[in-house]
């Protein structure tokens, strides 16, 4: 058994509005004069799991995502190994 660390990067799907991101983008553009053309606010989860292999670890992480961590209706995610 070994420990594997992953980063799960969760964002709203592209067809779901992100008013928070839009508002912060406007602030950066208009008040800080930083020409940001796109800003999406998401979540980053660092997860360490115990498994027999990296493949098994990934499967566990996928399970965590599909069953709890990610809202499949509005969110999309990417899993990266650290």
């Amino acid at each position: 058994m070994q420990k594997y660390t992953f980063v799960i990067d969760i964002q709203y799907k592209s067809n779901v509005r992100d008013p928070r991101g839009e508002t912060i983008k406007r602030v950066l553009n208009e008040e800080y004069s930083i020409p940001v053309s796109s800003l999406r606010l998401g979540k980053s989860i660092h997860l360490e799991v115990e498994a027999e292999s990296e493949e098994q670890a990934r499967q566990l992480v996928e399970k965590a995502c599909s069953e709890l961590l990610v809202n499949p209706v509005t969110e999309t995610y990417e899993v990266r190994k650290l």
Partner: protein, 219 residues
Amino acid sequence: MTLPKAQVVVYPGSNCDRDALWACKYVGFDAEFIDIYSDIDADLLVLPGGFSYGDYLRVGAVAAREPIAQKIKEFVSRGGLVIGICNGFQILVEMGLLDGALLQNSNGKFICKIVDSEIVDNSTPFTSYYLKGERIRLPIAHGFGRYVKTNDVNVALRYVEDVNGSDQLIAGITNTNKNVFGLMPHPERAMEKILGSDDGLRVFLSAFNYIKNNGGVRG
């Protein structure tokens, strides 16, 4: 003798501003609203509760960096009185005028209830009308009220029981000079018995009389 004057800063998204103005007028202040572009002309500045900028990014983060921020800092250095309530407290912390950080309540949820608090320091301009150790009932209504202590800080108000996971049950603090007071509970909502408690009245009364007796910083 001019009447002590209070200004309530209305940030985009502030929503306890009208309650704060009402409280200031109730105790006798000449009070008005100002916005983030205004100049400060007051003895007491109130940063009210609410959801400035929707709390989008970090609570108080965007508001803390608005044009008025510099003027507030100058006002503080001149000895002006500032009270930051709830979101106002969060803004003062983001501005660096008060120490520490305000993070999400430990149970991850917004809480609205009247809680028991204890006056720890009654030597501040905002708490002189209370007895040291006095227990008072004040409403809280916040999702991000967990105070995280980063340096030694002057505690003015403490919760009697844990409500949100704050370090040492800290509910309200001041700066070293005690002219800036930040607290998560809402004294402006505890001004009349019919609302459940009038224990908050004395916060505004203390400030009003401090200014009357010591002269304010206007002019």
